[in-house]
Symmetry: C2
Subunit: 245 residues, 2 copies
């Protein structure tokens, strides 16, 4: 009895899990699947499409379908935002990918009227302005995350936070210098499919979701001091959180 | 000039964002889009498919395409796993959805040989057995999460943890009673598309990713005491983490 695309996908997935096909390996193509499983070309194609949709495999135009390489960035939230990280002048971003070539692109700093959700999150009046820092993070030349942070313009307009280069230790170190060090963080995460625009900006392969993180930083006396909206290529990241009972 | 499916999807998305179409509203169908935008039926259908793939809309067979209702479960990791939650006899699950009808289904408890990753995570020898607790969590009758927890069988075989009903305060309270209270947690999150089997079990709509969480619980002296692999319907959840700098 000929198998269905789903059955062939299940079989290929089991062979990937068993290690028969390793990350980066080329999977059998349509002709090989047709021969091996005795199915129509369309069924073979459907099986490969299922694996691509699950994010297990990646299609490369004109070359075939490959087992996806998952060499995740471990985004350790507690470690990366620890005072010891930024107080001594390191960047938060450097904590994520210590050992891989990394870059920041499309840096844009502007003063804008706070979007409603930003004003609400920062406890600002409607119409207040914010310094808005937008950038794209790259690892090994590939975009993996976009981020936009917002801070009250009245508070940071005259600091290096309003300049493209925030200096050693970045925004958090500068906030500390003006008596508004972040002491507490809250991160809200959602996973969803990207819009076409987001998929293009992050260059995520088809069938890959994104993780949207809203982070609020609070001072010791509970003032929200920064909000940051991050969009991560889910295929590139493991998010790690550590906490106590 | 006739518009493309992408342009129509962009326009519909903007109308949803503006509030013209609210969550749960029916979007214009193919015939309405054909009339309104002067495009072919296939283009109109393509636009709706884009919104479904993005998770913004949901197709209901024979009825049309609707703006997706997102009434998320806020999974506050720190709050739900706080000792004050389980020490007094509450369930962790009840912290997530205090005010909505919730249920647990397909509860299964068994003793099995530890899968390799479980043995590694719990620091057990190869071939050691574990008590394995598997269940499905429902909110308002809909499955939102599956979870399987693993604990050393030698440690918990003779406790209520090996019984279907773990009693008030659940597994963690029982661990405390045998001198192995969990004091520290680590959660690793990934987002990806579900396999066909996972999509069926969680009944996730097409185009909805899942969030996979591996949680390890440690005792005060650093022993890993429980690992739990959770699979969440990403469309139902916001994951919240709070921590200090």
């Amino acid at each position: 009895m000929a198998e269905t695309a789903q059955q062939i996908a299940d079989d290929l997935r089991a062979r990937i899990d068993s290690g028969e096909f390793a990350p980066g390996d080329r999977l059998p193509g349509e002709p090989a699947l047709v021969r091996q499983y005795g199915v129509a070309k369309m069924t073979a194609n459907g099986a490969l499409k299922i694996l691509v949709a699950e994010g297990i495999a990646q299609a490369r135009t004109g070359s075939g379908t490959y087992v996806r390489e998952f060499k995740p960035i471990v985004r350790d939230a507690v470690k990366r935002l620890a005072r010891s990280q930024w107080a001594l002048g390191s960047s938060i971003w450097s904590a994520d990918v210590e050992d891989r070539p990394r870059d920041v692109a499309d840096l844009d700093v502007s003063e804008i009227e706070a979007p409603k959700w930003v004003a609400r999150a920062l406890g600002l009046n409607e119409g207040a302005t914010v310094i808005c820092r937008s950038r794209l993070y790259l690892v090994e030349g590939e975009p993996v995350q976009s981020a936009i942070s917002y801070l009250s313009a009245d508070l940071v307009r005259d600091t290096q936070i309003a300049q493209p280069d925030t200096g050693p230790g970045g925004t958090f170190k500068r906030l500390e210098e003006i008596g508004s060090a972040p002491e507490r963080f809250e991160e809200d995460l959602r996973a969803r499919m990207p819009s076409a625009e987001e998929a293009e900006r992050l260059q995520v392969p088809a069938g890959t979701p994104v993780v949207e993180i809203y982070r609020t930083a609070f001072t010791g006396d509970g003032r929200p001091i920064e909000v940051n909206r991050m969009l991560l290529d889910a295929g590139s990241y493991v998010m790690r959180y550590r906490f106590e009972s």
